[in-house]
């Protein structure tokens, strides 16, 4: 029971991370295209200024929870996915410092350089997380003798498809965010980007659902317990709702996109159960929530910690989000007490 609860929490932490940092990635990629001058680029960056750092902590928590609850999975997941994780790490480091460095020297070339860094190193993790999770859904090539893959094993068609899928999810998510967090022309361009990205997202989401049938065993759980089909169904409905809400309210469209990302992650997670990382060559070696977990004692202690503190975290993060809910306007950028980047 504890193991299953931790499995759900594990999935939830990753899902919340993608929901939150997802729009940061989208914004980081899009800022080169929806903003035409330095002032507009600053507007874009300042929409995520107060929150990107807090969003990234969900990744650290997801990593820490994997370590605490499923240490064997943590050990294998991180050493098997060595190179993509290093690239993700380097990307997050470069993206993080570029927000701080960019405005600190008043030179056109300096700012343009960091703009490009923000773009490239938002793009890379968006795709790499997709590739990593696509391969986890599919299973990694390991058996009792260890790991038999390389970086190129991960670049299989299904992994790449999931990479593109994640990228489009985050692009749509970021564009919707900018549609109501930026203002004037930037918001208009973001709205148009969100509308143009949506059909692509629809196509790739469809391809993902179809190829999942052939590339993975995720659907077995759904066939055995059809009630769970409700989760992918909500994902599909949210995707359609984004389209509908784009006509009336971009805030509602963004919330639909949040639900979409959460349910997409859970579509995969439910299919994996009780595996955390299946083996693609020897099912007997699958890393499951039972054979790779911590002791019941540790799971219990950590559950108490989570039950007490995560609601507090959610409460003050929501408070902070509400505090900065207003769109960034051009005149705000004149005032460094409002727009610090």
């Amino acid at each position: 029971m504890l193991n299953t609860i931790w499995f759900a929490l594990w999935g939830l932490l990753w899902a919340v991370y993608f929901m939150l940092d997802g729009f940061d990635f989208g914004v980081g990629i899009l800022h080169l295209f929806v903003a035409k001058d330095d002032l507009e680029r600053r507007m874009v960056i300042n929409t995520i200024g107060p929150v990107w750092d807090g969003n990234e902590v969900w990744l650290i928590t997801a990593g820490g929870a994997t370590f605490a609850a499923f240490p064997t999975t943590y050990a294998y997941m991180f050493s098997y996915l060595y190179t993509p994780l290093f690239l993700i790490l380097a990307s997050l480091i470069l993206r993080g410092v570029s927000f701080e460095f960019r405005g600190k020297i008043e030179l056109e070339g300096w700012k343009r350089f960091w703009d490009f860094v923000i773009f490239l190193f938002s793009l890379m993790p968006a795709i790499l997380f997709g590739i990593a999770f696509g391969n986890i859904f599919k299973g990694l090539p390991f058996d009792a003798n260890g790991y038999h893959g390389t970086l190129f094993t991960l670049l299989n068609p299904y992994g790449l498809l999931t990479g593109v899928f994640f990228l489009l999810l985050f692009l749509e998510h970021g564009a919707l965010w900018l549609s109501f967090k930026a203002s004037n022309k930037v918001a208009e361009r973001a709205k148009s980007t969100a509308q143009k990205t949506w059909p692509l997202l629809l196509i790739v989401a469809g391809l993902f659902l179809i190829f999942t049938k052939w590339a993975t065993k995720l659907y077995n759980n759904y066939i055995n317990h059809p009630v769970w089909f409700i989760v992918p169904a909500i994902a599909v409905i949210s995707l359609v709702l984004i389209r509908i809400f784009m006509k009336t309210s971009y805030v509602k469209a963004f919330i639909s996109s949040c639900v979409l990302i959460i349910t997409v992650v859970f579509t995969g997670i439910i299919g994996l159960y009780p595996n955390l990382i299946p083996s693609s060559i020897d099912p007997a070696c699958n890393l499951t929530i039972f054979n790779s977990s911590s002791s019941q004692y540790t799971l219990k202690v950590m559950l108490i910690v989570v039950i007490i503190f995560v609601p507090i975290v959610i409460a003050y993060q929501l408070w902070a989000h509400m505090l900065f809910k207003e769109a960034i306007k051009k005149e705000d950028l004149e005032d460094k007490e409002v727009a610090a980047y």
């Binding site: 943590y74 290093f86 910690v305």
Partner: protein, 443 residues
Amino acid sequence: MDTVWLARWQFALTALFHFIFVPLTLGLSFLVAIMETVYVKTGNETYLRMTKFFGKLFLINFALGLVTGITLEFEFGMNWAQYSKFVGDIFGSPLAIEATLAFFLESTFLGVWIFGWKKVSKKVHALSAWLVAFGTNISALWILIANAWMQHPIGYVIRNGRAEFVNFWAAVLQPYAILKFLHTVHAGYVVGAFFVMGISAYHLLKHQEIDLFKRAFKIGAYFGLYAAIVVFIIGDLHAFEVAKTQPTKLAAMESVWNTEKGVPLYLIQFPDEAHKRNAIQWFGIPKLLSILAYHNPNASIKGLKSFPRNDRPPVTITFISFRTMVGLGAIFIIFALIAYYLIKADRLLDKRWFLKLMLYAIPLPYLACELGWIVAEVGRQPWIVYGLLRTSQAVSTAVNTAQVVMTLIGFVFLYGTLGFIDIYLLFKYARKVPEPATTKGGY
């Protein structure tokens, strides 16, 4: 070059690099919170400008501390998978708790602090600064609880081929963890205090913003005197704990080869590892080492020779690092006392030599922090978990030498570049004159 050796170098470099930025965050977060609180209480705008001036330096420094911390969490799994598997039941928990209790607090309220000057009241804004400071210090608490368990494993049993928790609180509340925490955060406060005093001294020497920087120097001097004294006292108690729990580390720290009673402390000493003796030992103060290590003049100290060769840590580097750290710790107390006296006597501006000294002293507390970590981690060798798991058995089996070389080169290049830029920016903004109280434009 084998994978163990490369993975150790990678961990040493990434951890020591991370710890260039962390101690200033620990200390300066409190100092900025104090400055802002004085502003809120007195309404004196000088303190607001001071808060913003040092706040900006805090942020430049913080950015790199934050991003380089993620590396370490990933590195346990990437390079040290066997270690992670063996200790995950215990070691993973404080890491997850650190993120949940500390990182969220720190990052969320830092966002409020940076962007919220016009969104929240003065009091809530100052409160945000305090929450950031508590966040960074709570973070230090949990990661040091984790590290203390590697130094002195407790509250566990070996079951299912790994260490499993049986008593969470034993590991969390053990004296080793608490002392290590207090010692480390106070070291960070010394870094912060000397940073504030040093930069204030620079501006005082240039006769700019005399009033503001005299006040800042005063805050730094009071905080610094407190921290320098406490870090030294806790350091002594910490060494006492090391003597009880890690006899090989203590012997290496003091370069004691033979087991003896009532051991003297030699003021000048240098180890000769090849011949298992000291090349030099001059000016011995009778029984002092026994007193320091065990608080008992006749206590017996186990020498390195009484441990099997493959259980001994590298002696020279541990010994030199420890000696230098302690020497620096004493210097900090002297400097802080002079600073305190000159502030009290209002003679700070007359003593230009002292202002210059304090400016050039900025790097010293950083050096002491790095040396402290070298003592802690090299002194624990050859164990990754003292007495339980050897470092050589802890690396990932799925990772080959080429991969570690690639990421090691990647980190050196990445950290080298970013470190250079960050320190350049710190210099640039430390030299600037604080801005007027209300400012428009800029970025």
